[in-house]
């Protein structure tokens, strides 16, 4: 019995085994449902194995159009979030921790108001300012909703950056611009890639924002997916979601490359 106990303790002691509970959780609650989705995607209405759902997707130019357009919207949103969010996160990271934490929570706070109410209020705001609804409003709504998601990881990582590295760079004669672009920016890349991941794909799959801020004129891929599932075309909807997962896989691959590289290279200037 004592032997088992000792084995158990050393098992827990090895920190890499700590990933096991989560691994089990993920397998059960993420992978298994995913398998179900795959099953649905590769069957047609009668339950037989078939590729019709995918061929349907490829044959319909509208579906692909919508997907590419959604990717475009997502790219613009991500870029704007990055351009607006990075300086904000940077400024926050330079403040003292107390004020910074207050401000960070202030940036998160709007998200505690329900999404639908927020979006309706944005519509009302646009009305009040006599601004037209449409693509501009859509981008505004997206950036509005996802900016905190971009700021959070960047702030996290900037806050943890070793100031000695920055001082060292300055001591070695770098001017402020070089300090930023050669030291701080590369160090914050893991945060940036987290931020991109948390903004890019969710933009493609959000539907309510497009619905309300463009009066349903502009459809994003998420809307198409949702419509199909709600109207009983579960198989096609599942296939569409697999298409999205493919995109997910691609972006993830590209991202994690940058991630481990920067993490390994760590404090190199």
């Amino acid at each position: 019995m004592k032997n088992v106990q000792r084995q158990f303790i050393s098992f827990i002691g090895r920190r890499r085994n700590w990933s096991i509970p989560y691994m089990l959780f993920l397998s059960f609650f993420v992978l298994v449902p995913l398998v179900l989705i795959v099953l649905y995607a590769f069957t047609d209405h009668n339950g037989k194995f078939s590729f019709t759902n995918f061929s349907k997707f490829w044959m319909q130019p509208e579906a692909i159009n919508i997907l590419i357009y959604s990717v475009g919207v997502a790219m613009i949103t991500t870029l704007l979030c990055l351009l607006l969010g990075y300086p904000a996160a940077y400024l926050l990271s330079k403040m003292d921790t107390r004020r910074a934490r207050l401000l960070v929570i202030l940036f998160i706070l709007p998200m505690w108001i329900n999404f639908l109410i927020r979006t309706l209020a944005t519509v009302a705001l646009f009305d009040f300012l006599s601004l037209p609804l449409g693509e501009g409003a859509l981008i505004f709504g997206m950036v509005y909703n996802f900016l905190p998601f971009m700021m959070y990881p960047i702030y996290n990582i900037l806050q943890k950056t070793d100031p000695n590295l920055i001082e060292a760079a300055q001591d070695l004669g770098a001017n402020p611009r070089q300090v930023f672009f050669r030291t701080i920016l590369p160090l914050s890349v893991p945060g940036i890639s987290s931020g991109i991941m948390m903004v890019f794909m969710p933009v493609i799959s959000t539907f309510a924002i497009a619905e309300l801020l463009t009066i349903n004129n502009i459809k994003l891929f998420g809307t198409t997916l949702q419509e199909n599932i709600y109207n009983g075309m579960w198989n096609y909807g599942a296939a569409l979601s697999l298409v999205m997962l493919l995109l997910v896989g691609l972006t993830s691959l590209l991202n994690s490359d940058g991630n481990t590289k920067a993490a390994e290279e760590g404090g190199l200037i």
């Binding site: 106990q5 509208e62 198409t224 709600y230 009983g232 490359d257």
Partner: protein, 448 residues
């Protein structure tokens, strides 16, 4: 020594937490059969019933049958979500209130149980439903199942145009042409609901045939042939650039703000909207264009996995009493399917000046009633409206058509630009990898 004791302690804590979690999970598992028999699970639209009834019904039920029952009430926001949950999830609701075409689908795919009309000593109030709706429901029957055995209509209405009287003339909205008229561009809201859109586009597109008598409105709306679908698509594509947009819930609100002139609306919603707009001095009115439109109704059905058919049937019976119905009409603002004299008397409004012919609904002799014509449309209006069937097998094709008519809002250039940028971005890491590989090779080459 102490460290190991701490390990033990933590392990015990962890184990007990795990145990508790597992217990909570399993405690939420299915209830026993006998206790379930005492529960009535109802799945309904929000704000569609007087909720006090949910606490009063158990007393009535006890009086009538001597049995206890407790109501569990769940609301949904979209008929399609409700259908998805019931079809995929085999939920054990006892009563659901879908719209008529979903009822038709459920009946066809064998997802319903018949209503138990054996009410013992209680009176049978199910006959209070107006024959007008009962007749039309019959069209939904399938070979071995009569629709009337499986559903009870609850609220009904028609679809038409809600318009701002100061911004557009009553004259213009008498025809669907106003939706396609470029003069009204950007001032129209259409419902983002493909049944209504199909019906409107079909009736408008085929109106010459309807007017000359070649085809009936019913056929045009419910045949769903490929040719019909093509005509509908053409009309919708012409309509799209003329619209301000498509709305699902918030059209009435944009109307009360006065920025939209016309909105495709259901009669029940129109009543609410007109009232609300009047409170902010915006004058709205409602009309069904002369070409025609559709009638709809929401009805109660008992899904296949229901466990308490008896209480469900009694509840339907309960609902079909006039006084109960009046309370529900009050709360929801919609028009009930009941055609009793009590309801008629309660809804009459002597402040109105124009009379409405409602013999089709309340029975002969009711051809000049002073009543709200939006809640209770005149027979001339109802004559040009049809009841819509579900698309059933054609659902796929219609949805494809719908996404075609709605989706393409992009020009080719944009697509190529975006695709190009994506490829560039994707190429960059690949390029980085190639360089890494090359520099590695160079380094290895130098070593040797």
């Amino acid at each position: 020594m102490r460290a190991i004791t701490k390990q033990k302690y933590l392990r015990a804590v962890g184990m007990s937490m795990l145990l508790m979690a597992v217990l909570t999970l399993f405690s939420s598992c299915k209830q026993s059969d006998s206790s379930r028999k005492k529960i009535l699970k109802i799945y309904n639209w929000a704000d569609y019933i007087d909720e006090d009834l949910l606490t009063e019904f158990p007393h009535w039920y006890k009086e009538q049958t001597g049995e206890d029952v407790e109501i569990v009430y769940q609301v949904f926001d979209m008929a399609e979500v409700m259908y998805t949950k019931i079809a995929l999830g085999k939920e054990d609701f006892d009563l659901v209130c879908p719209t008529q075409y979903i009822i038709e689908r459920m009946l066809k795919y064998d997802m319903l149980l018949p209503i138990d009309r054996d009410f013992g000593k209680t009176g049978n109030y199910l006959g209070n439903i107006s024959p007008f709706l009962l007749e039309r429901m019959d069209a939904f029957s399938v070979p071995d199942k009569k629709a009337l055995d499986y559903m009870i209509p609850y609220m009904w209405g028609i679809s038409g145009i809600l318009y701002n009287t100061k911004l557009i003339t009553a004259e213009e909205v008498q025809s669907w042409a106003c939706f396609w008229d470029p003069k009204n561009k950007g001032k129209i809201l259409m419902k983002d609901h493909y049944w209504d859109a199909y019906n409107m586009a079909a009736i408008w597109g085929f109106y010459p045939d309807i007017a000359s008598g070649k085809r009936s409105r019913y056929d045009v709306s419910n045949d769903h042939t490929d040719g019909d679908i093509a005509v509908v698509e053409e009309q919708l594509k012409k309509l799209k650039p003329n619209l301000a947009g498509w709305e699902a819930d918030f059209g009435k609100e944009m109307m009360t703000k006065g920025e939209i002139w016309m909105n495709y609306a259901w009669s029940g919603d129109a009543v609410w909207a007109i009232e609300e707009a009047a409170a902010v001095n915006v004058s709205l009115d409602y009309v069904v264009p002369r070409e025609g439109s559709n009638i709809w109704f929401d009805g109660w059905v008992i899904p296949k996995n229901a466990r308490n058919v008896k209480a469900a049937s009694y509840f339907l019976n309960y609902l079909c009493q006039s006084d109960i119905t009046l309370r529900n009409m009050d709360v929801s603002g919609y028009t009930s399917a009941l055609g009793t004299p009590e309801i008629r008397d309660a809804q009459m409004d002597t402040a109105l000046t124009e009379t409405v012919n409602l013999s089709y609904f309340f029975g002969p002799g009711n051809d000049s009633l002073l009543i709200n014509p939006i809640q209770y449309p005149d027979s001339s209006v109802v004559e040009r409206c049809v009841l819509l069937h579900d698309f059933l097998d054609k659902n796929d094709r219609v949805l494809e058509m719908w996404s075609r008519a709605r989706g393409d809002n992009l020009d080719r250039r944009m697509i190529f630009i975006i695709a190009g940028i994506v490829l560039l971005i994707a190429a960059w890491p690949v390029y980085g990898q190639i360089k890494k590989y090359q520099s590695k090779r160079r380094r290895l080459g130098k070593k040797s």
